[in-house]
Symmetry: C2
């Protein structure tokens, strides 16, 4: 990922605090030993009319992909521990409102490589659960409880 200028970092941090999303999610992966994967991502939204803006962002951040949704919105998402960590480390001093989400994702990314056994993985899934409240998102279908019951069986 590009090393961003200070100006760009402040601008993107402001935009992220306004209209962006820092998130982690548990997804089902039948081919994984622990049956689930923790996904981390940073998303930016904008009316498709302003699609050009997301392309400008992507040019700066290099990683991630943009898609046009069918509700008139475009969405630019950067996913994966390395790109997300790289971006958020750069924005950490500037982000204000979404600082709790930023810190939590960075902590999850740091602990991901150690989460090879069910116990440690489950603890990490509990950290992921906290995003439901932090991001005021709707009730999640897959949370640490789901993972616990599958891993037990």
């Amino acid at each position: 990922m590009n090393k961003l200028s200070e100006a760009t970092k402040y601008y993107i941090a402001g935009f992220l605090d306004g209209d962006g999303c820092i998130n982690a999610q548990i997804v089902k992966r039948d081919d994984y030993k622990l049956k689930f994967q923790i996904k981390v991502y940073v998303s930016f939204y904008q009316k498709t009319k302003h699609h050009w803006f997301l392309i400008w962002l992507q040019k700066n951040l290099e990683y991630g992909s943009i898609r046009k949704r069918n509700d008139g919105m475009s969405e630019y998402t950067i996913t994966g521990p390395d790109p997300v960590q790289n971006l958020l480390k750069q924005l950490e001093p500037m982000v204000r409102i979404k600082k709790p989400q930023l810190k939590l994702v960075l902590q999850i990314i740091k602990e991901l490589p150690k989460a090879k056994d069910p116990q440690t993985f489950l603890a990490l899934c509990e950290s992921v659960d906290r995003f439901e409240q932090l991001n005021f998102s709707k009730k999640r279908k897959i949370n640490s409880e789901t993972v616990r019951s599958i891993l037990k069986s």
Copy 2:
């Protein structure tokens, strides 16, 4: 209004592009000679949970007032030609998505003092009409047509 640091300007411009609003509106003023007034304003929104953030913004920008709405949102609005012009002139080089609204408000503010006669005022009201489309806002109750029909009678 404070002279903002470059860093703060970039951050606020990003936040404004994400979650802010630059707007102008025609309001009825029975005590005015031309019966209407053109209001210009810049607003920032945030969940009331993050009310502290709007207070931080206000501390930086000095002008304007914050109110808690009854839908869980807080709203910080800076209104009036001088404070709005001062703020937008500082943010002009940094704002990206809302540049058209920014330029249009600055132009309206510049022309306001000259709009003392019905003809010039009406032309300015037509500029205000353009915000309906620029901000994807719902159909306005008062637009230049309303002003025209009242001033004619």
